[in-house]
């Protein structure tokens, strides 16, 4: 077991409670910092300054926001379904919280090291869909409901490619233990062998987190914040907490799975401080990339989102799994993994580009889609 967070007092239930407390604390700090970081990064990208007033260089802006939220009144619409409305933020937050449990940060630093860690994360992370639906439906608000439904459709769809990419890595490493997967990358990180998986992982992760360009469920200009529209104060902060926690967890997981985690490029067992630095750097890289995407791309339409998932992402990831299986079963050289995965990545990119260009040339398509949707909404 890990020395840093070992069996404190040797009592199981006390140990569990302490661990939960630690997670909560770490997550809170991380989230506060991340909100600040995002605002700063995006501001820079957009050639603004971002928060500067609170604290040095605006560093305490997040803390101030958090304090404000905690102190704000917790409003609830009178027609809302009380229990559902009030439990929804927890239902969103708890799964993220639970995924945090299984992510190893260094060889010894982590809450729990599960032999089925990857599977556990995949399973648990799917649960927060229910939270969004609860929020959307419990608010008794049309926009909230619309957002909740959008969130459900999007997250269920993108869970499939996400699981498939993770599975690709697990196949190459032939383990579901995240630490084992990470430590197999002491020479070459899996982003080399599975470039397609890495790209799809980021895309699907964005969709899972409802982040731009897949922020359709919470789009302010369409559904004014979606499921969270009726929330305020501490409950709204839970949504925020969940969003940025999952951003952090997913980035850490991506760093572990694709970027060599706390090991690469310093051999099989670098010292502990180096491991921590490595993982922080790589996680930060992932997070920054996601911020970068947010600052760059416009929002997609929901039909484009769905088509992209079912017509591009799932086929190519399934194909990648198939080729992985071939290479692993017949013990072909590892380079073929890169060849297949890269070829698929190139193909998928090219196909997407062609489709995008063609769609742009046919504005009537969009009109037709809108007409059909209207027709459907009228119950035709």
């Amino acid at each position: 077991m890990m020395p840093v967070l070992g069996y404190w007092f040797g009592i199981a239930w006390l140990d569990a409670i302490l661990r939960l407390a630690v997670i909560a604390g770490v997550m809170t700090v991380v989230v506060i910092f991340l909100t600040y970081a995002e605002r700063k990064v995006i501001a820079r990208v957009q050639q603004r300054l971002g928060p500067t007033r609170t604290g040095p260089a605006g560093l305490l802006q997040g803390v101030a926001d958090a304090l404000k939220l905690v102190l704000k009144e917790d409003l609830r619409p009178t027609t809302a379904d009380r229990w559902v409305f009030e439990l929804a933020p927890f239902m969103v937050f708890v799964p993220v919280f639970l995924t945090f449990v299984a992510v190893p940060f260094t060889r010894d630093l982590g809450v729990r090291f599960l032999s089925l860690g990857l599977f556990y994360i995949v399973a648990v992370s799917s649960l927060n869909i229910v939270g969004f639906i609860m929020a959307g439906w419990g608010s008794d608000n049309k926009y909230a409901l619309l957002g909740g439904v959008r969130a459900a459709a999007q997250m269920i769809s993108y869970e499939v490619p996400l699981v498939l990419t993770v599975l690709g890595v697990a196949m190459v490493a032939s383990s579901l233990d995240i630490r084992v997967i990470t430590e197999r990358q002491d020479v070459v990180p899996y982003i080399v062998w599975q470039p397609l998986a890495f790209v799809v992982f980021i895309i699907a992760g964005l969709a899972e987190m409802n982040r731009t360009p897949f922020d359709i469920p919470v789009a302010e200009s369409e559904v004014v914040g979606g499921p969270t529209v009726e929330y305020s104060g501490i409950r709204w902060s839970f949504f925020q907490l969940a969003e940025y926690s999952s951003l952090f967890v997913l980035s850490a997981l991506g760093a572990d799975l694709f970027l060599g985690g706390y090991i690469w490029p310093f051999g099989s067992n670098p010292p502990g401080w180096l491991q921590l630095i490595l993982i922080l750097v790589k996680t930060s890289f992932m997070i920054l990339m996601i911020f970068w995407v947010r600052a760059t791309f416009p929002r997609l339409r929901i039909d484009q989102l769905m088509s992209y998932c079912w017509k591009v992402l799932i086929p190519v990831t399934v194909a990648q799994l198939f080729f992985n299986g071939l290479v692993l079963v017949y013990r072909w050289p590892d380079i073929l993994l890169l060849v297949f995965s890269g070829a698929l990545l190139v193909g998928a990119t090219a196909a997407t580009a062609v489709a995008v260009r063609r769609a742009a040339r046919r504005p009537r398509d969009a009109q037709a889609v809108r007409d059909r949707r209207l027709q459907y909404a009228r119950g035709a």
Partner: protein, 165 residues
């Protein structure tokens, strides 16, 4: 009484409560939420029974499945029906049947002497289970996947709106 047993009681109680909500709730979304509670707690029971894989599969499958169920419920339940009585006229009879069934199962369980030694759990390892699933029962597994595929295709065909309508 060990901690495990207490945990089991708590999980089971919550699961039964969720199930009760599922079948007694007047609101279909609440029923669905009760269902997911029941299913998650049952997954917990699976983990307690050292069948972690099945527990996780349960989470994975039913998290999405229940969400889909709610979506459909919202989609095809007319607004006035959301608060409409969900139960049919044969409620008393159904109650009687359910109670009798529970009693019968209880009597059967209590009255049965289970043939093998059941005083402690024998965990099934992940590898062991995978071997069973992919080697011993490879053909049934393939058939099951085929069933799934056929069901998927069938569902698409059934649900697809005719183009010329």
């Amino acid at each position: 009484m060990s901690v495990e047993q207490w945990v089991f009681y708590v999980l089971a109680a919550i699961a039964v409560g969720g199930a009760a909500v599922t079948v007694f709730a007047r609101d279909i979304v609440r029923a669905a939420l009760g269902l997911i509670v029941a299913l998650l707690m049952t997954a917990g029971v699976f983990v307690l029974l050292s069948a972690e894989v099945i527990g996780l599969v349960q989470l994975l499958v039913y998290g999405g499945a229940v969400a889909i169920l709610i979506l459909f419920a919202l989609m095809i339940t007319r607004a006035r029906e959301v608060t409409y009585r969900l139960d049919g006229p044969q409620k008393p009879l159904a109650l009687l049947a359910g109670a009798t069934l529970a009693a019968a199962i209880g009597v059967a369980v209590v009255g049965t002497v289970f043939p093998t030694n059941t005083d402690h759990i024998n965990p099934v390892g992940f590898v062991e289970m995978s071997t069973a699933l992919f080697q011993t029962y490879a053909v049934p597994f393939e058939v099951a996947s085929l069933v799934l595929l056929v069901a998927l295709v069938g569902a698409i065909i059934i649900a697809r709106q005719e183009e010329r309508q």
